[in-house]
Amino acid sequence: MTRPADAVPPGALKRLAADLAAEASAALFRRGSSALTFMEVCGTHTMAIARFGLRDLLPPEVRLVSGPGCPVCVTAMGDLDKVIALARLPEVTLTTFGDLVRVPASHSSLAAERAAGADVRVVYSPRDAIEIAAGEPARQAVFAGIGFETTAPTVAAALLEAQARGLSNFSVLSMHKTMPPPLKALLELGETDIGGFVLPGHVSVVTGSACYEFLAREYGVGGVIAGFEAHDVLQALLALARQTRPAIEIGYGRAVRPEGNRVAQRLMAQVFEPCDADWRGLGVIPGSGLRLRDEYAAFDAERRFDVEAGQPLEPRGCRCGEVLRGVLDPAECALFGARCTPEDPVGACMVSSEGACAARYRFRGIDD
């Protein structure tokens, strides 16, 4: 099997773009609207679109908006403050994905804490956090759990492994969230006229496609589950434009099955249970978070440590919330590119490399 990028002839993309332009015109005519707004809800999609410069290929009738799909960006300030508070405990080794290191919390960041002497370690896998716990029994290894359904099963599996190995110094701060609820919340808000969703390919590997059916059934909004290569995104947009009735389609058949990954679903359900979660920009969405079940209380950093994080402080003028809901284009934020840049970010949408603002900044008009 060849690497996807090598296997895609450049001409194919041009053709897809041309087909999209044709379908978009037809769709506008059918729907009687002046623009087709499609929303992608996955940070990795935001990143891929920016990296491949896909906006250059979109016809003017198609507007592609970023939604609340960047797990870093949607983590509430209060949760970030808890992570900082844990990192400050002298007995704690705070293990984290790289994505979280530079994110500004109310008063600090993990990078700043590390410079001040905190034991903060970047890991690629939750398994690495387990090994740190096993190798340093005198330390308390706490794992900062962010991510959606793609990541939560891996954390669940790691936690079960820690249990099997009898590790008593490993715990997880679960800030995990699930994907369908915010889509419902967005549609309920009704702020943007979303014509269709580009659905997250790897979350869907775990969840399958049925969980999105309500979008079409109850809200009349279709969705296509998309992979992350340039052609995957364009094909998804094309499929959305082609839909004459709202439907949920799998555009990433090589990785996504309609039923999803049942083993991953089971592990997730075994270790986690749904809870209400606070989404930056969207507020509390019922049942959209994952917390550790009581049987696993011993591995819950929330219960093991008594961390008082204080009142969370939203940076003044920060409009990340509106960006995350897809109602504000990053360039319309007064702080964008001025007070808020990737070097000196104010909000999460800029510091996270797949936040809408960071992606937009990188893609700012080379032709201006």
């Binding site: 990795t44 991510g147 590997v205 090589r254 990785a255």
Partner: protein, 97 residues
């Protein structure tokens, strides 16, 4: 979310598999894909295989893309012929219509 790379399984030892991509070797847990076998391509995220890639589907995707590319190339040359009145290529050399 989320970064995942297709990699091929070359060995399985209990719950850990040795996986390779071009020039890269790693170990990943296959606890989430218990049916995965040596030789399968899997999507690897954060040190765990989360899905076995359906190679037939993958092949179909790439075949379709190749077709699109061919169509695009054909259209390009057709447009060039129209543009230049059907006899000359852009650089002035003669082309059989």
């Amino acid at each position: 979310m989320c970064l995942a790379l297709p990699m091929r399984i070359t060995a399985i030892d209990g719950q850990l598999a040795t996986i390779v991509a071009e020039g890269l070797e790693q170990r990943a847990s296959v606890v989430l894909v218990p049916d995965a076998q040596i030789g399968d391509y899997v999507l690897v995220h954060a040190g765990y295989a989360i899905s076995v890639i359906d190679e037939a589907e993958a092949d179909e995707t790439y075949a379709l893309l190749a077709e699109l590319a061919e169509a695009a190339a054909w259209e390009d040359s057709r447009d060039r012929r129209h543009e230049t009145g059907g006899t000359f290529d852009r650089d002035g050399s003669q082309e059989d219509a």
